[in-house]
Symmetry: C2
Subunit: 201 residues, 2 copies
């Protein structure tokens, strides 16, 4: 069973295939998503926009994902704009460092105990009938300067609850268990295994 | 297999059970939804709000539905506000007749060939993991005075494409085949039969 993964990020394809090893389900990429405008109102809508784009080309099963960081003191910003938070010219060229710098600047007067935040992930699976979504969250706080060089996005300033290191320090061993994307993709795995695998065992 | 249907409308429970007869799946109501605030941005969100409300009380499978009428000349209004279009005081007391009168008034200067519209339905199914949605649409036009006394909502002024009678004249024999809700609920039926029934046959 091959399922398209609507992403141009080869790291994400590798990561999800590792999660699904031994299931008989394999994720494949290869569709150029650079022309897709992610103008949805929330993570689900943006994930659906990407999935539908690939579904129209492929006509078969598609999985996609959208995610973001929501900071309480910023009323949920950067949220769905996380990847392009510092991208003032809408040129799709904000780097992780630009985004982190903008976030820390926005929080510079916010005391430690008010810097709570959560990462949110929405996976989407479509097959032409149902549109199914799988949500995951991880709560934590934003520290005042970056630490660690693993992960990506806001990981160097995000310390998950129950830890004192950032996601960028903790790395995949921890992140693949407790992250927003780990929680959501575990639900996706249960769903797809139930749909495609369990019944034939 | 019993599934909660998140609605206070006994007619909807009867209708969906008739669609699922012979599947072994039975829909049950009984949860009071009068306190639910349907403030989502679209049909999917409103359906999800209702389903989550019942899921939190029941802890088991829940189906819900949200629907509306989108008129092109009104930029998609009344849309998610269809049921309370004429409800200026937000008192939840707009009748079908009030809503139809407001719609015809808004369209009074719009010529016949510009009165295109569609009904949209979104079913939602949740089980604590996936949130699955099933969309349906039916295209048609809005006539300039009500005809027929079957159906509900805007049915007396909605003529589906390919017919010259309104949904309120055509009644359930036609509506249960071509309506937005029929299209969406057929997808839901396929999904639930695949999930709960087919594998045990």
């Amino acid at each position: 069973m091959k399922i398209y993964l609507a992403t141009n990020n080869k790291g994400k394809i590798r990561e999800i295939n590792s999660l699904f090893k031994d299931t008989g389900i394999e994720f494949i990429g290869g569709v150029d998503l650079s022309s897709v405008v992610e103008d949805g109102n929330d993570y689900r809508e943006n994930a659906l926009i990407k999935a539908l784009f690939v579904y129209k080309l492929s006509g078969t099963y598609v999985v996609s994902e959208d995610s973001g960081l929501e900071v309480d003191a910023l009323q949920g910003a950067p949220g769905i704009h996380s990847a392009r938070y510092a991208d003032l010219l809408k040129a799709n060229n904000a780097t992780d460092n630009d985004n982190i710098a903008k976030l820390l600047s926005a929080l510079k007067d916010v005391p430690k105990d008010k810097r709570t935040a959560k990462y949110v992930s929405a996976f989407c699976f479509i097959d032409g009938g149902a549109e199914s979504f799988f949500m995951g969250e991880v709560h934590g706080k934003i520290i005042d300067s970056p630490r660690g060089n693993r992960g990506f996005g806001y990981d160097p300033v995000f310390v998950p609850d129950g830890y004192d290191k950032t996601f960028a320090e903790l790395g995949d061993e921890v992140k693949n268990k407790i992250s927003h994307r780990a929680v959501a993709s575990a639900k996706l795995r249960d769903f797809l295994v139930d749909k495609f695998v369990r019944r034939t065992v």
